[in-house]
Symmetry: C2
Subunit: 515 residues, 2 copies
Amino acid sequence: MPSQTALELLQGHFRPFAHLNSAVSLLSWDQETYMPAGGGQARAEQIATLQGLAHERLTAPETEELLGQWMDLNTGQPLRNSAGELDDVTLALLRETWRDYHKAVQLPNDFVCRLAHTCSLAQQVWAEAKTRNDFASFLPHLKQIVDLKKEEVTYRGAATHPYDALLDLYEPGVTTASLTALFGALKAKLVPLLNRILESPVRPSEEILKRGYERERQLELGRAILTAMGYDFGCGRLDVSAHPFTTSFHSTDVRLTTRVSEEDFTGSLFSCIHEGGHGLYDQGLPAAYYGTSLGEAVSLGIHESQSRLWENCVGLSRPFWQHFYPLLRRTFPAQMQDVSLDALYTALNRVFPSFIRVDADELTYNLHILLRFEIERDLMEDRVRVEELPALWRDKMQAYLGIVPPTDREGLLQDVHWSIGAIGYFPTYTLGNLYAAQFFDQAKREMPDLIEHIAAGDLIPLKQWLNDKIHRWGRLHTADELVRRVTGEPLTLAHFMSYVEDKYAEIYHLEKETA
Amino acid sequence: MPSQTALELLQGHFRPFAHLNSAVSLLSWDQETYMPAGGGQARAEQIATLQGLAHERLTAPETEELLGQWMDLNTGQPLRNSAGELDDVTLALLRETWRDYHKAVQLPNDFVCRLAHTCSLAQQVWAEAKTRNDFASFLPHLKQIVDLKKEEVTYRGAATHPYDALLDLYEPGVTTASLTALFGALKAKLVPLLNRILESPVRPSEEILKRGYERERQLELGRAILTAMGYDFGCGRLDVSAHPFTTSFHSTDVRLTTRVSEEDFTGSLFSCIHEGGHGLYDQGLPAAYYGTSLGEAVSLGIHESQSRLWENCVGLSRPFWQHFYPLLRRTFPAQMQDVSLDALYTALNRVFPSFIRVDADELTYNLHILLRFEIERDLMEDRVRVEELPALWRDKMQAYLGIVPPTDREGLLQDVHWSIGAIGYFPTYTLGNLYAAQFFDQAKREMPDLIEHIAAGDLIPLKQWLNDKIHRWGRLHTADELVRRVTGEPLTLAHFMSYVEDKYAEIYHLEKETA
């Protein structure tokens, strides 16, 4: 069977590449969790070397020779004379392998090493700069990174907009133009909704969420809810880091981190649920395709849809808390004794403009993303300089959310992304919110008793539906194909908008808008 | 300057090799500390791949080309025409680089991968077999490993004895014949001393060490004593694993592990001090030579001398406890309230035949090593088969220590070494004991107030002396050269024997033997 041969050959060739990438992921995970402070310089060099070796392997003559048997290496199109023999899996395997190969050969080896080394150091400077609220110390590193990303665009080629080449790394198929249209339409609907909420006389209590919560008990609660979600601790862990993340070295070793504040339990709890959604995706990826591009997640937007679906559509829903509120109360009896289920639900879902993206509610969150999207787009277009970012950040916060962060720590130093060179990444968060609402609507349609299951604390049917519809396919379908296959339509704003409109109409006693 | 050029060239060439080795060390550290159980299979493959890549790099044509500029690659001798230009550092660099290169090219790449993969799996089977006291499940893996080590000897060549080729991997310069002589002489002195102790009416209390000790407080105590030793936690960590070990990814990231039993605090405490001695060595290695063979430790015996010197000569001494007993008492006030300093000191130093090597006292410990040395030697000589080991183990325990382990868990399943292919490693433990006593005698000679410092809790002068005399030299001198340079004589039994004779004569009220 020719398709098996292609899979086996590609798997054999790319397994060492996957192993190098897994080692890099462990070196990075360790850097964020357990590495002593003094180890940073040597670690940066180790990561840069291994990334360089992985890049070398991906772009080696053997890769070209292997792929060249089936496809035109310049276009990624299957060769006419063998196209008839290839089944869908093989075609997808070749398409996705070529995509990764092509992205890699666009970049000189030396550039990959420089970028990795610069980012590994910049990330450590950023962490320190954030602590000391010192943008000036991070500025030269951020300038270096922006310059390197512009250099990257020259290698990758930019047909329409230089930012397109970076967006495509995280969300294949998305363009600056398509996002400008989609996010523009979203903004046109979100801003009026936000204003109606801010005018509502309903004022959920924030105090009931900020009564002091012991660190270890927060982690226990997170572990209990992750277990209920079906996250397999035999093939995973939960640790603590400054910025929560999920990393995977194989579907049998998928690790989550959370951040813990003793003041407020919601940060850690919803980070656990959020990262748990990512973790379920990685644990559910097809092990049979491990080592090849097919064994990976479709896109960051689809990955984010899994975390957002669990965090928001499930974790912030009333049925979820109908079951889990007693557990929360047992975990923190003193703090919860005078808190009703209804008061908890409204407090968790309160909407208010705030400085920190990761603490933002489901609605204003997307305005944080719009701001970053516009800044990144303008940086890549040379319409703004890095030195201007603190002022620009404050202007945009004022314009979209009506508030101005008092310090850069609460402004453009808050996120790790730019320090690791991840420009083009932020938009996938809002795409994830939109995908999540659309997938969750479909799950409810296919499982009419889904909400009853959730209200009974039985989260496994949803986990299995996601395993079946999304996780097990790896990169067999593109994001656009996947969302059409699962929901019968392309990505649309409608599901997300009706989700937030219905939810907040109920909580904030809003009158139905006339459409 | 030609020597600088050689160092720079070799450093540039070997840095990626060092980075791959550092990544393997992290993958292994993680496997022993934080990896979820399900991740074992994928981890074994990742480690095997990275070890294979490191081996490829070490044995690449570029290595030959580079080394060939200065030396005959078959013999390791400097080329006559350039010998005059090379200084001592360069000569040592070439000698040690060739040693590593030569050891590596002796093995086919495929063999290195097979060995790594077999051992990574065998280690996991061993851990399970030890838990379930099930030698039968480990047997086929151990047979595979012994066969692979015999295969390894055929590649390495064995001039006199097949075991020599393995011994030389861990303790360069040592042979089966030299160890048989040295260990024979040691046995002739230790066994009579042990018998005199066993006949003594003195019976130190064991109960005062086994009163239950909270895990976290044990780790705090370990961290406090490591800090006093000068171990730098800014460039290191202490974690918990089944078998304590030290690993290093660079002198700025050196990690220790300990094992913790809540019954008895001494296991964890002395593991901390022991691994701390290793850690000080690794933190003290010459960073200027990082990436080359010169930047590494001389031998396992010298490495072990550092851990044993701290664990035994310092940690089990009366002056040490004169200072640290109050800290122990503050840490465990209830358990220690009726324990005098003298009772503690004698209890810590009690001598008694026991099953578990790592729990053995300083004296019987060496009989555990002799037993393993003889078994390994006989396995490599084909004088014994793996199936016979459980019975042979029991026979030798009876003959040397007068006791027989009731299960294999307390017999030949107790140590991790064979499961990771480390045959030839055990003898370095006793060599470490002998080196340690000799180094410590020299330190006392050069610092007449050393014991007063220790009794005042000031351990830094000793740490600095070791940094200066041993650590900072890396592999510039061979083990034999180093011990002669530091102490003015070759390795001898005399220092160790007078150390144990004096110590136990005092504790057990023995009469002085006539020589």
